[in-house]
């Protein structure tokens, strides 16, 4: 295949994203060692460089960090997803201005196709600078001929201060490429997790260079076609395309662990109707309807001293729907059916599946179409978009407070709630 030029795929990745979001509005925390915790303040999900240097591990339970935290004054904050999602949108929109081809890969990463752009280096620095000035978010930029190499280049940009946040793999000579790949352990390659790393090591593949040069047929025989794709990407043959439009979800799950154990049916129903409201709003946002609803309840499986009961029930809906009120009635009924006294429930959730686009409405001649709540749902979505999630709720939602997440250290919603804007 002849290509006009080598692809220049750029991966922009926010540095310590959640921690950086918090710091933008708290300049006094700029040099404080800090972490952001997962739902219910359980585990560390984002660390400042200071916290990394002190030895806090990604995913580590916060209670385990207590001795370290007290000795060094590490600050922990609850996750504030409203803030992170809004900051992410701002960053992604700015990056989208640099190219018509963008894939938002995760909340804090985006691929941008800059193939054919002259002055790639200058543009990359400009990109980094603009995101920094306009949003306050520090980012690193990795450039490569394939997604896998762009990801790896980003890793280099992050690790090596000399790169000043931008690393261009395409600018290296073949000798430099080999020398670089020889220094990076294979575990840093996109898609190579802990288990694969172990298996690769057993086959003598330690560095990224080893993987690039590995014997192709034996690699495919042992690790399958996905690993072969990764290898070809390391050899600069693009195998993984840019996905510009995220595919609609095939199922939508809304579930949470409770802040404290729940024993009463009304509280469970209250929680479930909030999950239903969130799931149905997502469903409507992608213009889908669901044909199956599943509800599950779970006791705390880590508390071996307590009786365990984790039931789950799914039923087909008589008509595919995205109506919060209809789905809520089914969730309610399923919950009632499964609920048993004498258990302490730790988690519950709703899963909507068999999704289809709303346009494919098929009338059932046994079950007449219910009078459409479509208008009502539209109004509900508009009100909640305008006045904040939960401004308008189903009446079963929010009467009981016991089940909500523990978020004892959450920051204000600086960017999405007028009452929470920073005060000077």
């Amino acid at each position: 295949m002849v290509r006009a030029h080598v692809q220049a795929l750029v991966l922009v990745d926010c540095n310590n994203f959640y921690v950086s979001c918090e710091r933008i509005f708290r300049p006094d925390l700029a040099r404080v060692p800090m972490v952001v915790l997962s739902n219910n303040d359980g585990c560390v999900v984002s660390r400042s460089n200071e916290a990394k240097a002190l030895g806090v591990k990604m995913g580590q339970p916060w209670f385990e960090c207590q001795p370290l935290a007290q000795a060094h004054g590490i600050l922990a904050m609850s996750s504030n997803y409203a803030l992170y999602a809004d900051m992410s949108n701002r960053v992604m929109r700015i990056l989208g201005e640099f190219s018509p081809n963008q894939e938002v890969y995760s909340i804090d990463e985006s691929f941008v196709d800059l193939t054919g752009t002259p002055n790639l280096r200058e543009v990359s620095y400009a990109m980094r600078e603009r995101v920094r000035t306009w949003t306050g978010m520090p980012v690193c930029v990795g450039i490569g001929p394939t997604k896998t190499l762009a990801k790896l280049a980003n890793h280099v940009a992050k690790k090596h201060p000399r790169s000043q946040g931008v690393f261009n793999y395409n600018a290296l000579t073949n000798a430099q490429k080999a020398a670089l790949l020889k220094r990076i352990p294979v575990s840093e390659v996109w898609g190579v997790g802990r288990k694969l790393t172990q298996r690769l090591l057993a086959h003598g593949v330690e560095t990224v260079l080893d993987l690039r040069e590995a014997h192709i047929p034996s690699l495919r025989a042992e690790f399958g076609v996905v690993m072969e794709k990764t290898q070809r990407e390391l050899q600069e043959t693009p195998c993984i395309q840019l996905e510009e439009v995220s595919a609609d979800k095939q199922q939508i799950i809304a579930s949470r662990s409770f802040g404290s154990m729940v024993t009463d049916l009304p509280v469970l129903k209250d929680a479930l109707s909030t999950f239903v409201a969130n799931a149905c709003a997502k469903l409507r946002a992608q213009n889908s309807q669901a044909a199956v609803i599943q509800v599950f309840l779970q006791t705390n499986r880590f508390r071996k001293d307590l009786p365990q009961y984790s039931p789950s029930l799914a039923v087909p809906l008589p008509q595919p729907t995205h109506d919060t009120l209809v789905v809520n009635r089914w969730a309610d009924a399923l919950c009632e059916r499964m609920f048993r006294e004498g258990y302490q429930y730790k988690k519950a959730g709703v899963m909507l599946s068999e999704l289809s686009p709303v346009t494919h409405q098929q009338d059932d001649w046994l079950e007449a179409s219910p009078p459409g709540h479509s208008k009502l749902m539209q109004a509900l979505d508009h009100l909640n978009a305008r006045y904040g999630r939960g401004a308008v709720k189903v009446s079963t939602q929010g009467a009981y407070q016991g089940w909500q997440m523990r978020q004892e250290r959450k920051s204000p919603n600086y960017t999405t709630d007028w009452d929470d804007v920073p005060v000077v």
Binding site: P27, D28, G136, V421, P422, V424
Partner: protein
């Protein structure tokens, strides 16, 4: 900033995409704290002017770091 009509409790719009020029009202970070001041930048001298006779201007000393967070472009003043 009473001197130019910014009062306690007012809501300010801050534009981060504008480069702060001499004379702009800015949201600055000084000693890890937010502050709203008029930016003075002439002949290598950087000052933050309070626009309130009760507060003297703050001149940036050697080694002190000033971060301009954004430029204040609007004031939403509450009437009640």
């Amino acid at each position: 900033m009473n001197g130019i009509g910014i009062y306690e409790g007012d809501e300010l719009l801050v534009d981060r995409s504008i480069e702060a020029k001499h004379g702009n009202i800015v949201l600055a970070v000084l000693n890890d704290d937010f502050t709203v001041k008029r930016l003075y930048r002439r002949g290598g001298v950087v000052k933050l002017i309070a626009e309130n006779p009760l507060y003297p201007p703050i001149t940036l000393k050697d080694g002190e770091e000033l971060l301009i967070w954004g430029v204040v472009t609007r004031n939403l003043h509450k009437l009640y």
